[in-house]
Amino acid sequence: MAHSSGRSLAASLLLIALASVLPMVLQPYGIYLLSLWAVYTIAAIGLNLTLGFAGQMSLAHAAFVGIGAYCTALLGAHGVPFPATLLAATLLAYGVGWCVGYPALRVQGHYLAFVTLAFTTLVFLVLRNEAWLTGGIAGISNIARPRLFATPTAYLRLCLAALLAVSLAVWWLLRSPWGRAFIALRENPIRAMSLGVDVRRYTLLAFAIGAALGGIAGAFYAPLVQYIEPSPFALGFSINLLMMVVIGGAGYFLGPFLGALIAVLLPEWLRFLHDVYLAFYALAVILLLLVCPTGLLGLSERLLAQRGGRPAERADA
């Protein structure tokens, strides 16, 4: 029983493989959406680690993605090659995430949501107001892609390769004793502490690693859209990421893959609804969570169990 069983890894690899052959039949806009899916999935995997597995509420993830994106765009503008900007974005987000984890040592739940919300707002204000560094509301344009991956299809493959690497690494992490410690943190920190689990350290690690994945997502996002400004990294995106995790199924390895897919596709499918689209989207989410608070994967698990199938793809560790 693990939310990160071998089968969920296989399913995620299948999705990535499928996405890498799809460009053959897709228009450029479809290729862009698929790349966006890969980037969102990486960010949502990060939040799922922090929130779904380690149980730490966070509305800070948009800020981590923003930090990664701006780091990449700014360094790239100075001619720093992409691998180096990627590394810098990852490390910077890791360090900032570690610091954002400190409040979680004191407050939990709703209070932690407020603290991390404030952090996202703070980062947004810095991005908007410190124009000398970030370009302010005018943003940064002409963000270059790595030369070998300049075409949309090649860049999509690069994003998918990153998603593949992230998936394998996080899968390994979740199945290691660290993953078990994260789940212990979520389920019962007091008991975990009495068993020698350094709850402080693991809380900070859960934030830092989740943030680093956000930073990686940002590093791939900036060259994908080639123009960034502060608004995509505001609180709304944190909530969007939260919805991806919750809709897919928090604490399920496969959850972010599905959640990000819905977050990318649903707005496209519902485009014909124009202005009422957001209301419809919200309604769909509310309905899903009423029917199944554990998200799509929780729902499928329940249906399988009812049909007498093997109950627990929700396998921890």
């Binding site: 789940i183 068993l195 020698g196």
Partner: protein, 247 residues
């Protein structure tokens, strides 16, 4: 020889309630110390103060003669001190085996080493031995949350032993355990004590259980120790009978 654990004038109040009101006690290596006393007399709070779960308002805790007052539970655990809680505390989402591995893993190697090492931190074999001791083998892969209360209670206790601790504090291990299991549990704890030299402090309301298990018993009332001695003596103590055993 330095005692394994000592408390000096330990105190803890909650608002106006003096839950622990100046307790000094010594636990020697190899001993089984029983702790009895009426509800709300401060037994669990004493455990929490000894183990850093809550900070004492005053007094001192020494482990091997070293001042460990205010240390974090996880650091004390790594020094070989382990415990159970009055209320069941297993990880319901994890399997029985995973619960036991979790209980031992933080004692294996370094944190980074564990990340890149085997999934089970090399503990499956010892977890299985522990399961056998507690007669839980058939349940190894069952979700802990699906076990009966008594089985979860056994798992809870087994977890406290996974890291091979020198000192184990058990808060009402017999609570809610049926009569047949009770005898088995007593024999098990005795065997752990005799074979591995593990030291126990056991809070218990079940008099037959605690009196037959312990080498020495203390009785706590209103945050103070009112009796300390061999089980038979404490049982006959006038103050103990008056404030606790009563009827």
């Amino acid at each position: 020889m330095t005692p394994l654990l000592q408390a000096h004038d330990l105190r803890r109040h909650f608002g106006g309630v003096q839950a622990v009101n100046g307790i000094s006690v010594t636990v020697n290596a190899g001993e089984i110390l029983g702790v009895i006393g009426p509800n709300g007399s401060g037994k669990s709070t004493l455990f929490n103060c000894l183990l850093g779960q809550i900070a004492p308002s005053g007094g001192q805790v020494l482990l091997d003669g070293r001042d460990v007052t205010g240390w974090r539970p996880c650091d004390l655990n790594r020094l070989g001190v382990s415990r159970t809680f009055q209320l069941l505390q297993v990880f319901p989402q994890l399997s029985v085996l995973e619960n036991l591995i979790l209980a031992g893993q933080e004692h294996v190697g370094s944190r980074i080493g564990r990340l890149f090492g085997p999934r089970d931190a090399g503990l499956t074999a010892s977890a299985e031995r522990m399961l056998a001791r507690f007669r839980l083998q058939p349940l190894a892969h069952a979700r802990a949350g699906g076990l009966s209360y008594g089985q979860q209670k056994l798992l809870d206790i087994a977890m406290a032993f996974m890291a091979g601790p020198r000192l184990v504090l058990l808060d009402e291990p017999a609570g809610g355990v049926n009569l047949t299991m009770l005898g088995g549990l007593r024999d098990l704890l005795r065997a752990m004590n005799e074979e591995q030299g593990a030291t126990f402090v056991v809070i218990e309301h079940n008099m037959d259980f605690v009196m037959s298990l312990s080498h020495r018993v203390i009785c706590i009332a209103e945050g103070r120790i009112i009796a300390d001695g061999p089980p038979a003596e404490v049982r006959e103590d006038a103050r103990v009978i008056e404030s606790y055993l009563g009827t």
